[in-house]
Symmetry: C2
């Protein structure tokens, strides 16, 4: 199986994290095709011919079939494993959190990080969008805090796909300017996720992005 | 079961459409609690105490359990029916399109409609956001057109949850200023969805919204 992904993208790292936790190893059980979406590598004619949505992550099976959308990929990979609840109600709750992640969390928490790390210091997006990202992102974090004050995980009784989906960008929320000190339950949950077996961290951003992130504080 | 929904919202209508097509009838098998999110009815202290995400649709089972996020509700209701593919790959593809709907379609196609029908004629959002909604919305429609030029449905081999999710706002895309003439395969698919058994249309918007929509053209 091939995974087309950008290592610094939380959406892409979700796929790698689950694969590793399923016991599937990099360069043995799957190939990672590094595809830098921040430099237009998902918008080339060759890429679009294969993956018309022009995004990462995408997986391609050995028979050529492809699947897009990070959270759909998680559900497919987790099928039949403890990472996807067997109970229909728990599975629906996990999906609910995954749709929440893509609609109410990623567009603010991840986009704030992208603007600060992958657009120039004089980008008009810094002035136009960051305040709204922070406001909406904090609303998402507050809802997570409320859930995690009562429940240990987002995926029903155990750790799984919804935790992976929400962990990816929450773990690097500080890059977007979010202070997690006000969210102790989120903070404790992040530590629990990091302690799960075969956990792998997202790689550090490349030097240029790291410098922009540092300058944004 | 109670469905908290705003009748003019495509996200809410998805739930009603699937329930009717599953043979579950309004006021017999489920109650519809009209909740006008455009007038703040999802942000009252009473509503937030019950549904902390402050959105519609939400379902509440007779035992008090609740489930949020329109597309998660669709998956749960469709469980074990032909509307959710039994094959894991087809189910993952359906989920992929549902995540696409919430990330790349609804925030533009539905938001354009909302701005034109539910914000005043002098709303700053009309100037600030509509052009971007149109650009991104057309990109989503173009991707749907490409898929529908080869496949009759989004949910694997038959009509189902992904079609319902994408139909809701595509069917009223003209309200947001989208001309569907350039998308003949989308146009034909909309007609196929409307011809499915027990199909129900979304109700017309209330007079005030209808007048704003008419004035926006």
């Amino acid at each position: 199986m091939d995974v087309y992904g950008f290592s610094s993208s939380g959406n892409c790292h979700k796929v790698r994290l689950l694969l590793e936790q399923l016991g599937r190893r990099f360069d043995r059980d799957y190939r990672w095709i590094e595809t830098d979406s921040s430099r237009g590598q998902t918008r080339t004619p060759q890429y679009l011919a294969k993956f018309p949505n022009g995004r990462v992550p995408v997986i391609e099976l050995d028979d050529g079939r492809t699947l897009a959308e990070s959270n759909a990929i998680l559900c497919w990979l987790a099928e039949g494993s403890p990472f996807l609840p067997g109970d229909a109600w728990d599975r629906a709750q996990a999906l609910g959190w995954m749709f929440f992640e893509q609609y109410s969390h990623e567009p603010y928490v991840a986009v704030a990080r992208f603007i600060r790390g992958w657009t120039p210091m004089d980008s008009p997006r810094r002035g136009a969008e960051l305040a709204r990202c922070l406001e909406r992102g904090h609303a998402a974090l507050a809802l997570m805090e409320r859930h995690l004050s009562v429940h240990p995980w987002f995926t029903g009784a155990g750790y799984g796909v919804a935790d992976i989906a929400l962990f990816a960008y929450t773990d690097v929320a500080a890059d977007g300017g979010f202070d997690l000190a006000a969210y102790p339950a989120v903070h404790a949950w992040l530590a629990r996720v990091r302690a799960t077996p075969s956990f792998v961290s997202m790689p550090e951003p490349a030097a240029e992005a790291a410098a922009l992130l540092a300058s944004s504080n």
